[in-house]
Symmetry: C2
Subunit: 406 residues, 2 copies
DNA sequence: GTATTAAATTCGCGACACGAACTATATGCG
DNA sequence: CGCATATAGTTCGTGTCGCGAATTTAATAC
């Protein structure tokens, strides 16, 4: 008897070239729409004839539709192509306090967006979320829904299909994917919020031009998403990116994760509030937003608390920057609203004592929008080819092949 | 006038499939030699006819040669194929104290290996190295040399072609690539030692099966190499992997890099020696090897010093493990000689308070061998296709294509 | 010798990208 | 209006490649 072991070797067939080029053309249309076939050929380097065949295929697949006719000083007028925005994606961003639900088209434009409270009971929250989604599907029944994308402040394990690590949410392990899929009949994709922000940057931001950057989400906790070598780094079981729970001080305050002195204990919104509480009594019920307003209006203790937080934020980022050498650090969170105040402080803290080379550019991104748009990208990834991830190959032209072991 | 901007979009041509499959077949031969065409077809999933054509091409290119004829209970006998081991690679491992030079065949087997001292003067060392290499080229003049691979305890900047960050070597910026190339006439590839160990693991170890692991080299300093999503992470300017210079304590002892309290200040061989020096006076001239021997023979202070070092090592690894979620942590360095003593201590320290999921397997690797073999892989990468890195695509079937900007 | 088995090659086919030729459609000028 | 010119988009012939069936080669068993 022979032992068979399925290795991951991937061979190319005749269709592989088409699959690759289809992805290139589809993403060029997404990026540069409206665009003519002739321009696609110029931009991609493919022959006009090849572009025609591929666009024909994309139109058959209903990903692309004809747009308006262009005007040129001379010659035949080009027919522009654009994405079919009748195809929509349902998106949700789960946060400890509230959940945002919405509908977006394939371009990441939102048709609708609303919020609902997040409760401590996963089942109740998921039920309410599913109801909202079903309602949205009725309201937008003229659209075709590609899937549901959900970003969470934690980790989703693909094997067990459960949320397995979400200390700031306070949920036990829960099968959110199955629950929502059963209630709606639509396929659900779940991803960590910081990773979703990475996808949003790649899909709707600077694209794949920047091949190494990290996203740091600062809210109740601290999340990090790593984009390296032009790919989102997921790690074993999708657990990569928990730099927020790296211990800076083994004897520091305890963290929601069970550890002590984690980065997020010093640099999250909660940390700033704690610093403020320590300096002044009678400050119950204060939110991070309030703290920002206080600092803006000149409250010295509030400024001091935020400065401590920002200092810790920069210190932790230096860890990421030293280890991963990103070109950019993208910051997501409420504190970006006063970027003028915090931005330079973070940037100089990051650059301090950096081993060799140039410090990265530190810049803000819009939070909710990034998370939601990231989940749009998450759902579309399956159809748009290997942009931002290698896992696509297996499902398309490539095949897993056998190998004889032993 | 049109502004033209070369984007990195890569389209596939007819030859793309062949390039991919050539790489698959060549690497299967490398891995499983001697192997027949029939087995290659079975293992790869390609048709026997396709395998025949590709192997014919590889034999023409002189990468593959016919081996012995096999024996089977029935039927025509298979002709085995194997790599052409007349093609050799010159390798060097530069370390602060000494440099190892050698010759290896394409299988990573060493034909020769010798050491020479490393001096504080880059020019002198490079000159001596070049002389040794020229001598080896004469001794093995029956071989064809593919290139020279050099691993360094620092960073090589591809643009300036210089060693730009090597605090433990104590060299100023130096163009080692140009110096050796001019003196030998052979192409030189330079890579950080930890990254070289990563390549060695992927090429001569478990292969691409483990898609996420990190290498931690422990010697004068601490180096880290990150393998994620099945790729070596290089970062901007190839600077990724300097986790050794992440500050654990901003007020800690100063480091060779100019910072304070870096991980390597607490967890390197030098750190262990410092701990020992602190506990006992009159211990000048002691090497790390001596310390290991002392500990083995029951010197309690030596044991204590090494325990402190191992504790710090584990603490830093927890940072890597939390952030990158590797399946494995591979340790390279002298301390692996007493792995029975240190291994379990490191592993339990790493697993302590890890956010969610399973801790990685921590295991040792042979140091000098890994570094040297890694440089073999470094040189061969160019010819063996996109194994362990995406940068290959540009040079083979893929092309950069134009895009009109503005 | 003949049947059987397996390796390796040959050959016809379809998919694909390429590139030249061709068609379609616009502007401008005599 | 008619013709030159320019640009978009399509058609068609060619070469490469992988596929898979048929064929050839070479060994063993009876």
């Amino acid at each position: 008897m022979k032992r068979i072991d399925f290795t991951n070797t991937q061979v190319a067939s005749s269709q592989t070239a088409r699959d690759i080029n289809r992805g290139v053309v589809l993403n060029l249309i997404r990026r540069r729409q409206p665009i003519s076939r002739a321009d696609l050929a110029r931009v991609s380097g493919l022959q006009r004839s090849t572009v025609s065949l591929i666009t024909e295929q994309l139109i058959r697949e209903r990903w692309v539709v004809h747009g308006p006719i262009g005007r040129l000083p001379r010659g035949r007028r080009p027919t522009f192509l654009r994405l079919n925005d009748r195809r929509a994606i349902l998106v949700a961003d789960l946060r400890p306090a509230q959940t945002t639900v919405g509908v977006a088209d394939v371009n990441g434009n939102f048709l609708s967006q609303e919020t609902m409270p997040t409760t401590r009971d996963p089942g109740v929250t998921a039920g309410a979320l599913a109801a909202k989604i079903r309602h949205l599907m009725q309201v937008y029944s003229d659209r075709v829904f590609e899937g549901i994308g959900i970003s969470i402040p934690g980790r989703f394990n693909d094997l067990s299909r459960r949320i397995v690590f979400a200390p700031n949410l306070g949920w036990p392990e829960f099968d959110i994917k199955g629950t929502i899929e059963d209630a709606t009949g639509v396929r659900v994709e779940v991803e960590n919020a910081a990773n979703a922000c990475v996808l949003a940057e790649v899909w709707f931001g600077h694209g794949e031009k920047v091949r190494d950057f990290v996203v740091v989400t600062v809210s109740e906790g601290i999340g990090t998403g790593v984009f390296a070598n032009g790919q989102l780094i997921r790690g074993m079981n999708g657990m990569a990116g928990e730099f927020g729970h790296v211990s800076l001080d083994p004897n520091g305050p305890s963290c929601t994760c069970g550890g002590r002195g984690c980065w997020e204990v010093y640099a999250s919104n909660r940390a700033a509030l704690r610093y403020y509480h320590e300096s002044i009594k009678s400050s119950d019920g204060l939110t991070f937003q309030d703290l920002l307003v206080l600092a803006e209006s000149g409250d010295l203790l509030a400024v001091k608390a935020l400065d401590r937080m920002v200092h810790a934020l920069g210190r932790g980022m230096r860890m990421l920057v030293a280890g991963l050498a990103p070109e950019e650090v993208v910051v997501v969170g409420e504190l970006t609203r006063q970027w003028r105040r915090f931005g330079p402080a973070i940037e100089s803290e990051v650059a301090m004592g950096l081993p060799g080379g140039h410090p990265p550019h530190v810049r803000p991104a819009e939070g909710i929008l990034a998370r939601l748009r990231g989940t749009v990208a998450l759902v579309l990834q399956k159809h748009f080819g290997p942009l931002a991830g290698p896992q696509e190959f297996e499902e398309k032209g490539f095949r897993r092949i056998r190998s004889l072991a032993g």
